[in-house]
Amino acid sequence: MKKSQFFSLLLLASAICGAQAAEFNQVQTGKSTLAFAYKQMGVPLEGKFGKFAVQIAFDPAKINAAQARLEVDLASIDTGSSEGNDEVAGKLWFNTKAYPAAQFVSGGVKALGGNRYEALGKLTIKGRSLDVSAPFTFKQEGAVGVFDGAFTLKRLDYAIGEGIWADVGTVANEVRIVFHIVTNAAPSAKK
């Protein structure tokens, strides 16, 4: 009797906490990953970016106020081989000397039902800004909120891989960007 009372109290408490507006805005950079997948001569390959900065303000109860900014250090790319890393830093690819970073700035978040959402925004790479939409899921475990999502961009839209590399038969045009971002809820100031 006492035990079950205790548990219902606990449940009630957690329900209140859950209902309470919690904004997830403390990004755990070390636990977050930014990867990409593409095909080269029909071979599926993966790579990742080692350095990127994310700012997020996301409250599932206030989707309209959600915001995200992402800045990727393009020189931190890992294509899987050092030869590849050197190549894509060059002028024909990212031209990291002139354009060291890629940016994503959200313009809004749409709720798709359940834990599914879609981030809309502008992605800027190599001086070219285009609208992108990235579907993602948001999973909350206590004070930890995890965003998992992916979208596909066409590298030639951003002039990534010009000249001889523009041949999409060798390196495919489609590049899938996969993000996994771990955040903590803001320490609640208001009690």
């Binding site: 080269q40 001569m41 029909g42 071979v43 599926p44 390959l45 899987g80 081989s81 030869e83 590849g84 190549e87 001889i164 590399w165 041949d167 060798t170 390196v171």
Partner: protein, 182 residues
């Protein structure tokens, strides 16, 4: 006319097809390795891998055919030890034609660039990505290939010696055209 004096048409076709593939894949491997990174290099590496898989499959087919069809005997004029040496050389060639593509496949896995045969069929990765292992396998792949080069050289030299110096039927057993042996 006597079937026992020549290899079967199938064996002859497969043998010369293997020769053509080896003489394409080997120089391709040497050439592509020297290129700086470019779409051409990526294409050639893929073609090299596809050719290697084809050689492996062809070798399996040849071994299957060889074990079910007795080859024509070597001319009696050839000393026993040379016959044995020829047989041993053939075994080694078959072994290398299986092992070399396998080391290429392993090396692709270790280097993190899987093999997708003809751009359609992805071979499973036999080992995980491991740079040191990849470099080691590349050295082994290279060494075995130069071993193959030496053995193929001996194989050809022996065939030519029998044909042009000893004037025996050794090579004619495997020539795609020409009448049988009298």
């Amino acid at each position: 006319m006597n079937p026992a004096t020549r290899y079967t048409a199938t064996a002859i076709t497969l043998h010369w097809l293997a020769a053509l593939l080896i003489f394409t894949t080997f120089p391709l491997g040497v050439y592509m390795h020297e290129l700086t990174l470019s779409p051409l290099k990526l294409q050639l590496i893929s073609y090299h891998k596809w050719l290697g898989v084809t050689i492996f499959l062809l070798t399996v087919a040849r071994l299957a055919w060889r074990t079910t069809h007795t080859p024509p005997p070597l001319p009696e004029t050839i000393p026993r030890w040379q016959q044995r040496a020829a047989h041993g050389l053939h075994l080694l060639l078959y072994a290398l034609l299986l092992v070399i593509p396998l080391t290429g496949w392993l090396m692709s896995s270790a280097k993190g660039f899987p093999v997708v045969y003809m751009g359609l069929v992805q071979l499973p990765d036999l080992v995980g990505k491991d740079k040191a292992l990849g470099d080691l396998l590349m050295d082994i792949h290279k060494m075995l290939n130069f071993g193959l080069l030496a053995l193929v050289g001996m194989h050809i030299a022996a065939a030519l010696k029998h044909h042009f110096i000893e004037h025996d039927a050794t090579l004619r057993r495997m020539l795609p055209f020409g009448e049988g042996v009298k």
